[in-house]
Point group: C2
Chain length 280, copies 2
């Protein structure tokens, strides 16, 4: 795959890594960054993350072949719409947001006919770190990217998006956007809430009595509160379903402990171990 | 510190690491392992973890200067009592269990007068791995060991135990055994239950949609179910208190999400982030 111009809207950790990966692999001849803050963009350009930049989406996408929208999930739909309207009809627009159903809902009936195509994506890669300063050229290497076409999505555009992520070293999984959100509620959003809840409930005076277990279990609680609040709201129903399943499971643990039922406790723990061992 | 004979009761990951650490640092002239399974002990001896072994505690401690009991928490008190009864009066017995109050309760009124002294310890080091094959000479390096004397504990014996762990490279914190248990319920036992609950509630078909966050948050769910069931039962009341605090905190998250209260959600996440950031 060879792209003349790749435009990245939102040059943070993910957007910056898309830029670095595309440039280091020679995937794009020209990488244009779009953002709100000229100083941040200018630093990203100086760091070789992007070739040039603008603070206007319409300007940044006017000559783009591929556009990747990497803004927070509550801005993705609006930025995609602006990109689709401003890009050439041949262009393909995708995103990198953690939630997919909200974008489908928000874009419903709004896409201009005969314009650039949009296909949702979610690279399962990231970090509790924030900003293009933490971008890495190999962030997507061997990672899963979920591509989420709907019944209305142009099949050729889907292939372009598949190929784009494959070219950055990722593995591509195709999924319905709403099924994606149900799954990610369990595999990403609930764990984030639980990690944050664990950290938030721990008296700071006892932090010197933590070891690797606490450190790992709560690592993602250091993530950006604004970004994550937007993710939880964008995937509210599925998050609530996952949370209620988790709360029910913790109630089983509590009951076994109160009853002093050792066998039940061991089985409950063994169930969790079996799932975790599957991951390796 | 120089010990003529160090005896380790329970030569698993922790006991084996005590042996390796003591030998590699020249802390003990002779390290004797006590266990139930001759084959396991024989493999540990072949691996240089211990110098010799026996399957009888009384025999293993008869000439010991320091004894470390590294058996599961529901066997610690009984093994400590056997060790105290069989060891020379000059000997100091400690343990490495994750719970301390249960040992104090179980030993109350049982310690022979004029015999060896017991001081509880808990090295905050470990792994979801099991067995002496995973033992490491540097497991305690820069780790915290909580030493938990009571009002009845011999002060000289406490100093010996402090010095023992310091000699293995650890940092020593002294704490009341019951306060230890309250703290560890938050910093270790609750996180383990939550990690296991998260893993247990995740549909295995969606595990291909996990990334580093899920992996870290659930890592300790791979721990041994029997060992952990014993820990939860030994520290039942404090675990229930921590669990109820966590459940309450997750209910706040749920309420903010249902209400669509972005500010409350961001604040809730920021509270967790602040605690986690303190850890670094």
């Amino acid at each position: 795959m060879q792209i003349d111009q790749l435009t990245i809207v939102g040059v943070g950790l993910i957007g910056g890594s898309v830029g670095l990966a595309a440039k280091s692999r020679g995937l794009a001849k020209r990488v244009v960054g779009v953002g709100r803050d000229e100083r941040t963009l200018s630093r990203a350009a100086a760091g070789g993350v992007i070739d040039s930049f603008t603070t206007t989406i319409a300007e940044g996408v006017a000559a783009a072949d591929v556009v990747v929208v990497c803004t927070p999930v509550d801005r993705v739909a609006a930025d995609v719409l602006t990109a689709v309207r401003g890009a050439p009809p041949r262009a393909v627009v995708t995103d990198a947001g953690s939630t997919k159903g909200n974008v489908v809902r928000e874009l419903a009936g709004q896409m201009p006919a005969g314009g650039a195509h949009f296909v949702g994506s979610h690279p399962l890669a990231g970090s509790e770190k924030k900003g293009a300063a933490f971008a890495k050229a190999d962030l997507f290497q061997d990672r899963v990217v979920v591509v989420t076409p709907t019944a209305d999505t142009d099949p050729e555009a889907v292939s372009v998006v598949d190929l784009f992520w494959l070219s950055l070293g990722a593995r591509v999984v195709r999924m319905d956007p709403f099924e994606h959100d149900s799954a990610l509620a369990f595999t990403s959003h609930l764990p984030h809430a639980a990690a944050s809840g664990l950290a938030g409930v721990t008296p700071p005076g006892w932090l010197n009595l933590t070891a690797g277990g606490f450190r790992d279990t709560t690592r993602i609680a250091a993530g950006d509160p604004d970004l994550w609040a937007a993710i939880f709201e964008a995937n509210r129903d599925a998050t609530l379903a996952a949370l209620d399943a988790f709360t029910g499971r913790m109630a089983e643990f509590r009951a076994a402990l109160v009853q002093g039922d050792r066998d039940k406790l061991v089985k409950w723990l063994a169930d969790g171990k079996r799932v975790r061992d599957t991951l390796g």
